[in-house]
């Protein structure tokens, strides 16, 4: 079974803090994605990566950056957390050529 794990289920941070969200997949997938999920807005793509050290902006990249130094790990970075970044963050992975994305359980981030 594909497993996508995220470093924390719940996280509380203060405004202005630098926040790291980690995602690890164990199926040697090439593609990895970061989404945020908000009520009434669904899942919105923040960043994605098709290979190590590659990254592409999604629909809402402002205020975020990413890092992919190893194939199995994709990190989302909030350089200076703000209250409007309070959300559920979901990581997904996908093998190249497939349409199915496998999601992690999510990290609920609260910025106060």
């Amino acid at each position: 079974d594909v497993k996508v794990t995220q470093s924390s289920r719940y996280l509380v941070k203060r405004t202005g803090e630098k926040v790291f969200l980690e995602c690890v997949q164990d199926m040697d997938h090439e593609n990895m994605f970061w989404y945020r999920q908000d009520p009434g807005l669904g899942l919105r793509l923040i960043y994605f990566s098709y290979d190590v050290k590659m990254k592409e902006k999604g629909d809402i990249p402002e205020g975020y950056s990413v890092s992919r130094e190893k194939k199995e790990r994709f990190s989302l970075i909030l350089e200076s957390a703000s209250t409007n970044q309070t959300s559920m963050y979901l990581c997904a992975s996908q093998t190249s050529g497939s349409y199915e994305q496998y999601f992690g359980p999510g990290t609920r981030l609260t910025v106060t």
Binding site: V4, L43, L45, Q94, S98, Q101, F103, G106
Partner: protein, 110 residues
């Protein structure tokens, strides 16, 4: 206008009812259509996908696509309390990028 529109509900029906979940989309270039199910406090998981107009069945679930109307549906027959979840439609927009609807929260009452 959002690329994919989905009624967020919530939708509450009695056990055994037929459930219809729907999405519309704006870009006729979309080719692949997917339904994800998300249980509370879990990540979404793929339920079904299709790439052509018409129906696709999998047990109690039927995915329907009408490309001429840019309309996709998911039908659940003989709904069970275990079907209670949020259902998300997702459409592939080139290069494997998924665009999601808002999600419909469904509750099946015993």
């Amino acid at each position: 206008q959002k690329e994919v529109e989905q009624d967020p509900g919530p939708l509450s029906v009695p056990e055994g009812a037929i459930v219809s979940l729907n999405c519309t989309y704006s870009n006729s270039a979309f080719q692949y259509f997917m339904w994800y199910r998300q249980y509370s406090r879990k990540g979404p998981e793929l339920l079904m996908y299709t790439y052509s107009s018409g129906n696709k069945e999998d047990g109690r679930f039927t995915a329907q696509v009408d490309k001429s109307s840019k309309y996709i549906s998911l039908f659940i027959r003989d709904s069970q309390p275990s079907d209670s979840a949020t259902y998300l439609c997702g459409i592939i927009q080139g290069a494997q990028k998924l665009v999601f609807g808002q999600g419909t929260r469904l509750t099946i009452n015993p």
